[in-house]
Symmetry: none
Subunit: 400 residues, 2 copies
Amino acid sequence: MNLIDTLAVESDRRILLVVLDGLGGIPRDKKTELEAAWVPNLNRLAAKSSLGCLVPIDVGVTPGSGPAHLALFGYDPVEYRVGRGVLEALGIGLDIGPDDLCARANFAILDSEGNVKDRRAGRIPTESCAELCERLQKDISRIEDAEVMIRPGKEHRFVVVFRDEGLGDGLTDSDPLHNGRAPLGIEPLRPEAGKSARVANRFIERSAAILAGEKRANYVLLRGLAKKPVIPTLQERFKLKPACVAAYPMYRGLAKLVGMDVLETENTWDSEVAAVRKHFEDYDFFHLHFKETDMAGEDGDFDAKVELIEKFDEEVVPQLTDMGFDVLCITSDHSTPAVLEGHSWHSVPVLVYSRYVRPQARVEEFGERTCARGDLGCLRAQQLMGLLLAHALRLKKFGA
Amino acid sequence: MNLIDTLAVESDRRILLVVLDGLGGIPRDKKTELEAAWVPNLNRLAAKSSLGCLVPIDVGVTPGSGPAHLALFGYDPVEYRVGRGVLEALGIGLDIGPDDLCARANFAILDSEGNVKDRRAGRIPTESCAELCERLQKDISRIEDAEVMIRPGKEHRFVVVFRDEGLGDGLTDSDPLHNGRAPLGIEPLRPEAGKSARVANRFIERSAAILAGEKRANYVLLRGLAKKPVIPTLQERFKLKPACVAAYPMYRGLAKLVGMDVLETENTWDSEVAAVRKHFEDYDFFHLHFKETDMAGEDGDFDAKVELIEKFDEEVVPQLTDMGFDVLCITSDHSTPAVLEGHSWHSVPVLVYSRYVRPQARVEEFGERTCARGDLGCLRAQQLMGLLLAHALRLKKFGA
């Protein structure tokens, strides 16, 4: 058991963890997105906060969203792995239980010799995907005693969940990953996955039979078959009553994995903030997630990311500082520099405000480089939760 | 397996790791050697680089050259130990194979009662050492079925290599470490070392017989008997094609241990840089080592060290920045402060230049204390390789 877990006590002090997804950047014309943004409210807050930087996973490691968030929630992201199938299922909003084996699936096209001609079935439109999923679901609701759920994603992508308590994970993929090769049989990597392999292979056979003669796609490929990891909850570990406010399904799903209640919200920042305000009394830990900064970074749109940060500063920050949290933390899960058009390994700035901080003497700016010189130094993201609990006076003394 | 190893991918992006041996210092008149040096080129490069400091092994630990370099190459220096015998053998330029058991040896003088009168045989001249080694080698070419190689070092020091596939390591020393004591029998610490102990003890007996009556030295002492550790190579771990340019044999030997090709060079800095330039297209990772800064530190010659750093800045840096590496890192294996006349535990400054850094806004100096406030924070030397690989875009994303 981690040290922090052994020290956590109950309390009515409240923590707000705000995650601006992909906030960290690298410079274009000498300034990062955050440094280029006009953020008077954040700067004012920074002047009375502890500042530092967080390394999401480890030095040099570019994280996916799953491990990056688990680290922020205080979990070792290398120990607790969330499989691709589970992330996909969470991403389309499925509730995943302990008996669910989840798979990423593609509609694909096989040639007459049984080799994969197109792994993505020409990226069929999302509507076709929904239609084909419905056809499969109509005919396949159960294989052996496993319930089968088939849900469309975008274009050729969909998700299959096999639900049965006899299904272990630890399976190979059927997707050969390159066109021109034959699809692979799904093999169990350990005895507990024997039934799972049988069920998954049978699903592929039956799907192929149903799709025979279908022009758009005549085959399905499965990969990333996984069950959700067994993770001790935030309640168990830190004696928190935690809630998540996030507009995007995957983040809502990740939050559920660690025991958070997921609050109702529409997909606007105002609605998200209102959800926190509405439930302020009901929880003592809130994870408030804003996705758009990451999307602007992924698009390589530096200016759009700057504008989003400015919007956050103007419209959101004053509301957050007003709500009366004992601890307010503003940070990110990882960097998504517009220059790189994707996630990166760079550290992210972190700001922790409470009555018990040592504010910076001369820093009056919230940015990657001011934070790197902050009083917190450079921490692993996984260490953040301990710090937030401490500032909420929710950790007892270690030793006498 | 380390996380970084699982993420490494092949690429044609190139990394240059420059090691100024013993660069780190402590102040004389308020400035370290590096801070006292006039280094306009390094300062200009620092202004557009990521800066930080590296702790070679662990806080407070003064490293030898072996572990310090292994850490820079991404290896846990506490896990991978290179025995003294192996380092000595590498230091005199021997190629060490997997069947080689290497020992540091001293010529010594025993008194009439068989106690060690002088462990160093009065520090006999290097020429005498060579002469005595030749006498031993002439008579002793084989013991049991082990081939025996005897090579002179400086003064009373020499190296013995026993070559045979049956020789395990894990042995005690024969050197009692104090004059006036009897030499010790070499004992195996594990069953696999039984033959090794027999062969080594027999070597000592036969040497004593050959040296009987010799005034300069009548005995040999062995210690640090070791085989080279089994280390996964940089190719295997990081998918690199690595080369080393170093003028001193030990560094060339260390580089071979981790799978680097060792390039031809003369013992001048110009020749070393020319070797990198010549082979630029042939490798994607270069370790470029300059020894002299460490020697000046060991000599306690502050001014000489300053001059060497200035020479590096003036003659070498412009050539390095010109070559077109995707990632350029300038750092050191450990500190060798002139004030201490030896290696020390202090952290070393590190500079990483690539297109993807967050340069310091206001730092325009490459020095221990500016680097300690750098955006990278303080890293373990072992973490550096992950960062260099990341900046070369040679690591895939962790998780989804």
